[in-house]
Amino acid sequence: MIRVEFLGPIQKNALEIEITNLKELAKILQETPEMTEWLENSAVAVNDTIVTSLDIELKDGDKISMLPPVCGG
């Protein structure tokens, strides 16, 4: 099971889903209307490390985070 968390202003509860890579997650989220506005501008982290490619295999227990645009300070 993979946990997907949506951070900051993304108003969506975490998901627990059976996927094996990020391409599967992309497909699921692209079919979720409420996520459309966030997919183009959010970063993705796997186990708290930001990734820049979808070519990443996932294993049971991994945590994915979606990080929308930031503005600290």
């Binding site: 951070l7 202003p9 501008n41 959010s42 970063a43 708290d48 490619s53 930031v70 300070g73």
Partner: protein
């Protein structure tokens, strides 16, 4: 050192604490940056969400960069609401000589604005309004939207 506080920062105390912590460390320069919430566009203040695991990783990378220059950094940030004229963010660099600290605080704060996982909201009539127009997409954003 990275500290997260609930609500506005106590600026004099934090600056004094940091000063005392390093007063005998033989640093020649102590350069702080203090961010204060300004009155603009009718807001009552700002509010912040923070994702600490990635913030700590990001901060540790910068601490290592500082260490390579013989310097150290410290940072404090508010979580939740911060009203007008209060501080939400303080960071500083201690270094043996001033030039390193002056240059480093600039690079560090710029990357902080672009990369640190913190989300800002305007407080307007008691509601939090996400400040999307002032926010920056983290490097590498958008990969899940590629078809």
């Amino acid at each position: 050192m990275l500290n997260i506080y609930d609500g506005a920062l106590d600026v004099p105390k934090i600056l004094e604490d940091w000063y005392k912590e390093e007063s005998t460390s033989n640093y020649g320069a102590y350069i702080p940056f203090i961010g204060t919430v300004r009155e603009e566009d009718g807001i009552d203040g700002l509010s912040f969400d923070i994702y600490e695991p990635i913030l700590e990783n990001w901060f540790n990378v910068w601490q290592e960069k500082a260490k390579a220059k013989g310097a150290i950094i410290k940072m404090a940030h508010a979580r939740g609401d911060v009203l007008l004229h209060k501080s939400s963010y303080i960071s500083c660099v201690f270094s043996p000589k001033r030039r390193v600290a002056l240059e480093f605080i600039d690079e560090f704060v710029e990357d902080f604005k672009a990369s640190a996982p913190i989300w800002k909201y305007d407080l307007i009539d008691g509601k939090r309004v996400y400040a999307l127009d002032r926010s920056t997409a983290i490097k590498g954003s958008g990969i899940l939207g590629v078809k």
